[in-house]
Symmetry: C2
Subunit: 300 residues, 2 copies
Amino acid sequence: MIVMDQIAAMQALMRQYRREGKTIGFVPTMGYLHEGHTSLIDRARAENDIVVLSVFVNPLQFGPNEDFARYPRDFERDRRIAEQHGVDVLFHPEADEMYPEPLTVRAIVQARADVLCGRSRPGHFDGVATVLIKLFNIVMPDRAYFGMKDAQQVAVVDGLIRDLNFPIELVPVPTVREADGLAKSSRNVYLSPQERSEAPALYAALQAAASAVERGERSAAAIRRLLREHIEAHTHAEIDYVEVCSYPDLTPLETLAGTVLIAVAARFASARLIDNIIVELPKTGEQGDGKGEQPCFARS
Amino acid sequence: MIVMDQIAAMQALMRQYRREGKTIGFVPTMGYLHEGHTSLIDRARAENDIVVLSVFVNPLQFGPNEDFARYPRDFERDRRIAEQHGVDVLFHPEADEMYPEPLTVRAIVQARADVLCGRSRPGHFDGVATVLIKLFNIVMPDRAYFGMKDAQQVAVVDGLIRDLNFPIELVPVPTVREADGLAKSSRNVYLSPQERSEAPALYAALQAAASAVERGERSAAAIRRLLREHIEAHTHAEIDYVEVCSYPDLTPLETLAGTVLIAVAARFASARLIDNIIVELPKTGEQGDGKGEQPCFARS
């Protein structure tokens, strides 16, 4: 495994791979790797000649009161895990290498960003989009792998790649969970034992919502109420949002139809957790044929 | 010469060239080609295996009261000129192909854009940066060619390429002029015979400024006054700006030092014209050695 921290050397290496006709799969991360990340790496490993992992805690996507400074970091452990999972190139730049001077040009996300996590993290997705443009230009991948746990991020990246014509295929990968259903997250290490025992209630609430949809519930208000009541009954967390919206456009819905994202975010004392599911329903106005009426759970 | 109007087909072709190890030179234009453009094409032809010319009048970079609808267009003539100058691929997309839906993500230029032309054209460089990100991702060039007549545009593109890590070399090309000094521009066709006879005064004013600098003038205020008086004495145009700033940072200067852009813009009844020169001077605080005191006119 090659470890690099310089942009110019990285671009020279990636050009070389491309000249050799090799396909490149890219997994951008902020490190502190868990099974969610390794599922992305494994998928990239199966589909490409070269697998590139980036580990970079991007200051641009953290708000002034967020956890940039204390975001968990353990590069030696990340390096070991990357090597074990067959990563070819590990890109681990310092912030000064990525942002040597104030940016003269940056990206702003003007759709899909003002709902869900974007509402409580203003500027977050602008920072994500800007660093991804940089990383895409540095790594020049054929495919980029993102976890569906951050469904809104996947929707923003989908827009970024399509609208700015990056010659990259976006590969969304299902959320990896603990045995009790808690979505894997680097921020789970912040949880106290009590919080850790309550945290699976987020996914349990989403499963309860899915069951309600299966039973025929189509009211977004009813689904939101169900989510809120479940989380309030089973945790001490403060609910940040419970939302029901179209995917990937992220338009809030009153009636569930088409591809629907059901998403929650809750603040425990020491960590804010997010989770979501996607349900596939007939589009509004489509006539059910008797077979198509069962929702199909395409991604979770 | 291959003429293309579809993005996906264009990207497939460009990938093919890259796989074959060919170098790609790119000349982005809004068409209505003149000798300024053909100087870019000729330079790209001399330096690359493949030359790509784009002709696209980008609606995103025109303000609501600007000349998007009446911007001069003559695609058959452009096609003929491109062929004569050895262009390999002419990319000529419709606006619907470039912007099929509202953009979810776009670029904003947060430095180098609030002076010179940016002051009277709010949002102009955001539109330029956004379309260039798209075109760079579609054409995937090794080198991109821009005319120094739009010096501010070159400065913005310099920031865009560097800050967002596009693996592209920016090649600035000197302004091409009519025999009487008027900078070549697609907008020159708007000029009445009277305006056309007055228009060379812009470059004459810049030359007078250069002579003053050669004689030792270092006051930006004095240079601006000289420019303004010359243009007012020789034209009926309304001065939009006369500015003296560092290049490529575009910081307004009080005292000329280092690489200095001297730029003018003036509105005739039917066209707004711009022109500029760059002078190279010792940096502030540098001691002259007797030889280095003559300004060197690197680009015009």
